[in-house]
Amino acid sequence: MYSASDLRKNLRLMLDDDPYIVVDFQFVKPGKGQSLYRCKLRNMLTGSQIDRTFREVDTFKPADTEEKNMQFLYKEGDSYHFMDNENYEQIALTEAQVGDAKNFLIENMECKVLLFRDRPIDITLPNFVDVVVTEAPPWIKGDTVSGNYKPVIVETGYKVSVPPFIEQGEKIRIDTRTGEYLTRVKG
């Protein structure tokens, strides 16, 4: 059981029999009064957000979620297939369930899949992925008009801004949490 003083950003808990994640959190305490915990929570099944204020006497169950290490196998149509590293069982996630992670999923990549009562609901990628640039406009030396960055497309179809010297066929590193280019990867 969690008590209200355990509340913090990214805590997962059960509310009205649904799993929620705390996305924003504020501690409020009126003079000599009891502590109040103002939270913004996201329903992990529906994605809808709610505001709730908890008191110090409130308690919660941790969300019945389980994180499993899985390998991304392949994409087929609208479904993304993963394999559980422990028992080799395969599961499929829809494009909606995969969310923004689809921009960085590469075959054979290790990631963490969050399950709620055996149902996949979220996916956590490694913080950094290396991807091949598949489409890049040529670098025109001395071109100062278009600025210091240019847009390229990588193997997953994701579009990202990179420095102008990056060329087609090169590998670049992306921070999956921000979706931003970090560095060129050699070899």
């Binding site: 504020q26 409020v28 305490k29 003079g31 000599k32 009064g33 204020t53 008191r55 110090e56």
Partner: protein, 307 residues
């Protein structure tokens, strides 16, 4: 690297902090107050429902210097002030730190109304010392510190800003929620607000109002939505105070907290205390106001997380 940068960025706020501390001392010394220091480490804090002390084995760090300062008041020190570090467990947020600084002062032969005037004078003295005249800008709001400040009773505040009347909020056990979430953010926007006369259930160590026995002579200062200080006409009836401590301890036990021992020396002292008034003012929040900071983190050299 980032920690270093944060510390460098605090310079202006820390200069404001030093100025606030110096000017506050000068203000009280000019009014013949004696600056005192009382122990930060005490055998046990006063029993209060919602305040938890940090351990300093086998004793405790004081959540405020109230206990010792009132014993001094009872011994004839009629005008005293103290600026001290205070400690409260499980309080952390944009306006809370587990270690923070309180300015407390006590005055014999006066009540909370005169104390309210002290507060007006103190803030004007501080703004004068900082060379900003009588107005301060906090979070893009220009606040006029000149006298008199707005005086608003708790009952009126609920009627004006709350989703429930005071009576209804008390019945539904929503007093703190309505006050903190609905009323507080709207107080002290143009001029500071002195919110006064708290229902008896929240009397704490305040005297019952002579004109209005359902209320206690307690007030708080709000400026730009910031709660800055809590003051009382002090309760000098030891038996009444004992009953209140007992009920605070009952609330503590119901919520799974340890009850505190009855502070016998303190109770003995307050029965000898003159009619008096006292107040605790949050120095960090006062610096937030004058430095226009949104977070208490910005006005201390180090937060616990930055150590």
């Amino acid at each position: 690297m980032s920690a270093q940068w944060k510390l460098e960025a605090k310079r202006e706020a820390l200069e404001t902090r030093a100025c606030v501390l110096h000017a506050a001392r000068a203000f009280f010394l000019s009014r013949d107050y004696l600056e005192v220091e009382t122990p930060n480490r005490i055998p046990a804090p006063l029993p209060e429902s919602h305040i938890d002390a940090l351990p300093a084995h086998p004793w405790w760090l004081h959540p405020s210097p109230e206990l010792c300062m009132k014993r001094m008041l009872a011994a004839g020190y009629g005008r005293i002030f103290q600026i001290s570090k205070c400690y409260r467990s499980a309080e952390r947020g944009p306006r809370h730190l587990p270690e923070f600084t309180l300015l407390e002062w006590y005055r014999a032969d006066c009540d909370y109304r005169q104390l309210m005037e002290d507060c007006e004078d103190l803030f004007l003295y501080l703004s004068g010392a900082m060379g900003i005249g009588t107005r301060v800008t906090y979070r893009s709001r220009l606040i006029d510190l000149s006298k008199p400040w707005e005086r608003l009773s708790v009952k009126e505040a609920f009627d004006r800003y709350g989703s429930a009347s005071l009576e209804r909020a008390l019945e539904q056990d929503r007093f703190e929620e309505v006050l903190a979430l609905e009323i507080e953010p709207r107080l002290g926007g143009r001029k500071p607000t002195l919110l006064f006369d708290y229902p008896l259930a929240f009397a704490s160590l305040a005297r019952v109002s002579k004109d209005n026995p359902a209320f206690a002579e307690r007030f708080e200062i709000y400026i730009g939505g910031l709660e800055l200080a809590n003051g009382f006409s002090e309760l000098t009836d030891a038996e009444e105070q004992r009953r209140r401590f007992e009920s605070e301890n009952e609330v503590r036990q119901k919520r799974g907290r340890m009850p505190w021992p009855m502070p016998e020396k303190f109770l003995e002292a307050i029965s000898r205390m003159p009619e008096s008034a006292g107040i605790a003012l949050g120095v960090d929040r006062m610096v937030m106001l004058f430095a226009d900071s949104a977070s208490i983190d910005d006005v201390v050299s180090f937060t616990p997380e930055e150590l």
